[in-house]
Amino acid sequence: AFLVVTASWADNWQRAAMPCPSPLTLLRDSLRGQREHEKDLRILVSNLPYEGLPKTKQPNRYFPGNAVKTTKYSLWFFIPMNLYEQFHRFANLYFVGLAVLNFVPAVEAFQPEVAIVPICVMLALTALKDGWEDCRRFRSDRRINHTSCRVYSRKVSGFVERHWKDVRVGDLVEVASNEIIPADLLLLHTSDLNGVCHIETASLDGETNLKRRLVVPGLNTQDSSFEPQNFHCTVAVEKPNDNLNQFKGYIETSDMKRLGFGIDSLLPRGCTVRNTDLATGFVVYTGHETKSMMNKNGPQYKRSKLECKMNIDVLFCVILLFSMCLIGALGHYVWLESLPSVPLFLTPGSHGHMDSNPLSGLYMFFTMIILLQIFIPISLYVSIEMVKMGQIFFITNDVDLYEEKTDSRVQCRALNIPEDLGNIHYVFSDKTGTLTENKMVFRRCSVTGTEYSHNENGKSGKCKFPDRKLLQRVLAGGGDWDGCGGIRRCEATDLYLDFFLALTVCNTVVVSTATTARAQRQRVWHQSTSEIDISAQRCYVAESPDEAALVHAAKVYGFMLIARTPNSVKVRLPHGVELNYQVLDTLNFDPHRKRMSVVLRHPISGEIVMYTKGADYTVMDKLIWACLNTAQKNVAASTQRHLNWYAKEGLHTLCFAKKVLSESAYKNWSLLRQEALAAIDNREELLMETAVNLEKQLTLLGATGIEDRLQECVPDTVMALREAGVRLWVLTGDKAETAINIAHASRLLDQEDLVIHMNTDDKAVCKSILDRSLEEGRRHTRPGYPGLSIGLVIDGHTLDMALQSDLVDRFLELARLCRSVLCCRVTPLQKSTVVKVVRERLKVMTLAVGDGANDVNMIQAADVGIGISGQEGMQAVMASDFSISCFKHMKKLLLVHGHWCNSRLSNMAIYFFYKNVTYVNLLFWYQFFCGFSGTSMIDIWLLIFFNLFFTSTPPIMFGVMDRDVSAETLLGLPELYRTGHESEGYSHFTFWIAMLDAFYQSLVCFFIPYLTYQGTDIDIYTFGSSMNTVSLFNILLHLAIEIKSWTLVHWVTMLGSVALYFTVTLVYSATCISCNPPSDPYWTTQQQMSEPIFYLVCVITTVVALLPRFTYRVLSNTLAPTPLIRARHLERLDPAIREQWIKEWRGFRGGPQGGRSYQKQTQEQEPSRITPTLSITNNHLGTPTRSAVRHHHNVEL
């Protein structure tokens, strides 16, 4: 085969000497390229023999290069492509349609060239924004494409530096440790003797643990030094796809042997090589065909609730506009009919005679649409986008939402829903990693029935300190182990040894020597500092934090995991002996067995031992109960007792056991195992079966309790959210006990709460529980009777039943009565189902927050998804709309930024509608005085400028910067968040009020000048200019009433707008002599401003127009102040008086949701109603002075 290749290479060489290929060849090539793409299997060969040949001779020329392009536009086609994109928006089409309509002579209202200015400006602004974003993408692409990597070159017989973009399919690429992989590589060779290469796939799937990749099995590249030049195999791979866990193909060697490979041999682009000095791979996919690029999807587009409501109002505006145009058309018709004959001022059409009256009326309808087009606020959409950009700027720049430990800010990944944060009704939260830190601390253990509490660890939050008693026990036995390398002396010590060995080896922890900054930081923040000694460079990379916690715990007692390879594990014992155990088999964790085992052979005694670790009941069930003596039974019983106790304390429990296997037993089992491994059908099932076969008749070693501590300020945040009227649901995969414990600790449930447990396998039972609980619940939440608040705990099975169509309504009704709901043992799918059901059935705004891959579904299902960038990688963050670094940030994000964004944006949107309607109506009223002929009394340029420049900045600034209540008050009084749920935000009601006000104000703005100038010799544009000025003052002062806080920026924009108006108008009317026929603005403003009556008109019109709104605001603020107004008053008070007021307020507003005071009253008033099982317990909040009376009201069946 080598000869063949050389021959063909020579052949190619000769052909390369020929002149440029004919167009026909090119065409044939491109057709072949097309076919090549569509084939199910791609046959690839190394590029090396063809090095230096022109492109047309390259065997792999049909595949795309490795350059990536994420930009949407190209330089040359930016304008047409961007316009095409923009015209997908209905509003833009509408305005372009009108501009085109204006070119029809029969219906034109303005000079057609001028009328297209606003839409052009809008399109240009949007294009500018898009262009800027695209430019940023282009730069980032260029940076990536120009990263360098090493590609083998025949000429220099070694690896040469190349840019990523120049890597082609068929190249051989070398990557060193900590380097990023430039393309999807098939692993051919590594510096590791076993052909293993570790990679970190965080950038791909967010998982931070190291993954093992193997050289293509059967390829003998490991033994001798690998020479890329001698790689002459053909590689066949499947078509590129986006499945990260699927990849298959084969290598056909020179002796026609086919070697299959799978995902285990693929180094995907974007991942980082770790723990492996060098790895060489064959490029199989490049550029956009790589797994990572095929998995990149663009930013998701969510439409906010406010925008949906707004779109309906835009429709109302369209209807209003059409009816106004209809009035105009009819008016024109009636006016024409009323004329006895053709007067001098009427013009016949160009064809010399008048159109018939109905036809003129019809034409007038369209003219009116053009004239009154800005009734639909053209600038609203662009302004909203700009405002949201501003709001997001402020959110991401909030220093309170910055987390120093990880150096991360809050990220807004969805740019268009910041206001939805202010309107959340339900929050669905994950538990582990979201409420808790997901930093596991080894907290307690029980060995052979004796409990050892690691109080020090509990206090410090780190696995740093051994329990003294246990350490003594361990060290006492230690002497014996040293001598004989851990062979048993006495049974008791042996169990201790086994316990710690199990902790150390029964896991999948990889010992890493990563040196990147990220890993270092991780170690500094997450892990103990005890690694400063010899293992300073050693870092444990575990798939789950529990495993790492256990390994670290064992290390404290001297059992240190030193190295792990697929076939061996090296452990150092307390007194320095290092043992290298042979790993015979690893029975991995699976969700059905809920345990894992490792089968080891002792290096010295040769004994075969299996260590098993798992959830308590899955291990306890497998003990050899039958042959236990009394002492052992006692041990088992006390261990079980300890386990229950741990669970109640909210610890993660694990149980450890061992089993000694005889050589023959292992051999028998091993055969079965091999068979199972080789099986093609139901391989998984068979493997599980063999695992279950082996994992029985175990000897109990002990149990551990690992604490997952609550994140900082979680109870505070939960309380705040609850007071804000947000219902919190916790959806967790954990056990009910753990979940309830965390719920108490985080104040999701109070000690006095009525807690309903639902846990059943029977649907009928489920139904009856629901009915009974509903009855109970209704009794407690009757209006006027503030009862207990209710918590619901439901587990996965029961939830499934409750969500079935016949029970779901009952379940939701019950859930609505509950203050908090805990769903335990739920799957990711169930999480998203719950969110969807609540969101769709209850028609509420939902927010989901989570940190792990199992929360992705839920995050995507909710209206707002928040990802917590924590211990479990980036998948949740990738799927989220906002990402924060810890749960406590939710408080400020929702209560402050959510509230602000919501109130700002809704006020701004309402104001925009108002502004346009007020202004356009002036034109409409004027139609009654110009024969409904579509005359505009305001110069068209000034008309356009008015909306575009004079009155656009203040509302945008208002939408970005106005602050109704300060952040401190919003945080201090979470109740204020409810105003977003109620009337204060954007609603159709406020829209119609604004519309009415707009009609009123436009009437005033038109008719006061009209009545003043009636019967005088005032000319059209002087009349219009007075109205224009009056409207400016009116519109700006209206905004001034709405502005809640005046900063320097507010003053500058407001005064700047007025100054700009007068400057532009004065300059325009001084220079436009007859620049814009037929309008005649020359000297009108100057003339106008020289007359005192103009100022008098301005003053009275503005006062009359704004008086109702002003008075309404004043009276409502005084007579029926909204909570927000009350809060603003509070801000001005002395801190001391403020406290008192806040207390009073809480008492006033509290109700069953808020105050504890009510519950105390309830107990006194109606002691017979509740029949609590009284028990005195310490409450979990750590205030030792108070012991609460706990009503345990379990409706448990």
Binding site: F345, F394, D407, Q1014, T1016, D1017, L1107, R1113, R1128
Partner: protein
């Protein structure tokens, strides 16, 4: 400390602006605060209202319809529009002196100079003296762009064509009739007369108009509008300028002359007067009315009671509001209210 910087590279700037802590004035509209405002505005408005009202009261206006719809009117004979060069008289009596400089207006009702195509149908290039457009007027002037013989019309368009062409003479009836001199200078806007409108530079003026025809409705060409004053011709004719400044509303008046003659500089003395009207302009085709208005003016322009009354009403309303606010304030005040 580069490492430290690196670790907090993402920290947002802690400035008053980015943290939204800019010092701000946060007024809360409430009854207590607005009382002084309402009182002040109320008092000021009442003051202005009284001043306006009194000023308006002191303005004398005499409005006389001469359309001739009523059979008793002298102009009835002309209103049918059948008689060429019809002249009618309008008699009126002043019992007391009409004080100040008296302005003589003509007024039209139901006349839509604001009709869109009316305004569009003119050629500003012609009117600024550009002779190129004398030969080819803009198309917007249609149907008054060319006449039937394809001669260009100057000034073209319906605006110019429909120019008001009634003329007035005022006589005081003392010992026969004594002409009251009417001054037609400076009645148009200064900016129109001096900048916007220009005659073509040719002497005599008529030469520039060779090859053009007058608008069909006109009796005289534009360069012969005023035979008594050579400088008051062409596009700079004051009456033409006044007409071409379009009225905003369908009922309007336009300044015709000022009465500044030596005997009448301080007003029209009591007595009997007659206005001799050359009745040319047809208004019956659109149910229009024509009138003559004599008025003196003040700093606030012509007579207008509306504004004074409006100020008085709004001012009183504000005072009433302040009372209401006082009551509200007394009952519902906040501790921080001043």
């Amino acid at each position: 400390m580069p490492k430290k910087e690196l670790e907090t590279a993402n920290r947002p700037d802690n400035t008053a602006f980015t943290q939204q802590r800019l010092p701000a004035w946060q007024p809360i509209l409430s009854a207590g605060i607005v009382i002084p405002g309402f009182v002040l505005i109320g008092l000021a408005f009442i003051g202005i209202g009284v001043a306006l009202f009194l000023t308006s009261r002191n303005i004398t206006v005499l409005e006389m319809d001469y359309t001739g719809v009523e059979t008793t009117s002298d102009c009835y004979k002309c209103s049918a529009g059948t008689l060429p060069n019809c002249v009618c008289n309008l008699y009126f009596t002043l019992n007391e002196t009409f004080p100040g400089t008296v302005y003589f207006y003509y007024g039209l009702s139901n006349y839509f100079q604001s009709y869109r195509k009316f305004g569009a149908s003119r050629d500003d290039n012609q009117l600024s003296g550009d002779t190129y457009y004398f030969t080819s007027p803009l198309a917007v002037c249609t149907p008054y762009q060319y006449d039937v013989n394809n001669n260009p019309i100057v000034p073209c368009g319906i605006s110019a064509n429909s120019m008001f062409n009634d003329t007035f003479n005022l006589y005081q009836l003392v010992n026969g009739s004594k002409t009251v001199p009417l001054d037609g200078r400076g009645i148009a806007w200064w900016s129109d007369y001096n900048i916007k409108f220009r005659n073509p530079t040719s002497d005599p003026l008529r030469n520039a108009f060779n090859g053009t025809v007058k608008p069909p409705f006109w009796s005289k060409p534009v360069f012969e509008l005023d035979l008594t004053d050579k400088s008051n011709n062409g596009f700079l004719n004051q009456d033409f300028l006044v007409w071409m400044r379009r009225a905003a509303l369908p009922n309007f008046r336009k300044l015709y002359r000022r009465i500044t003659g030596p005997d009448y500089a301080s007003g029209l003395p009591p007595g009997n007067y007659t206005i001799e009207i050359a009745y040319n302009y047809p208004v019956m085709s659109f149910n229009g009315r024509k009138k003559v208005v004599l008025s003196n003016v003040s700093w606030m322009g012509g007579k207008n009671d509306f504004l004074g009354v409006a100020y008085l009403v709004v001012g009183s309303l504000c005072i009433v509001m302040s009372m209401v606010m006082l009551i509200v304030y007394a009952k519902f005040k906040f501790p921080d209210d001043v």
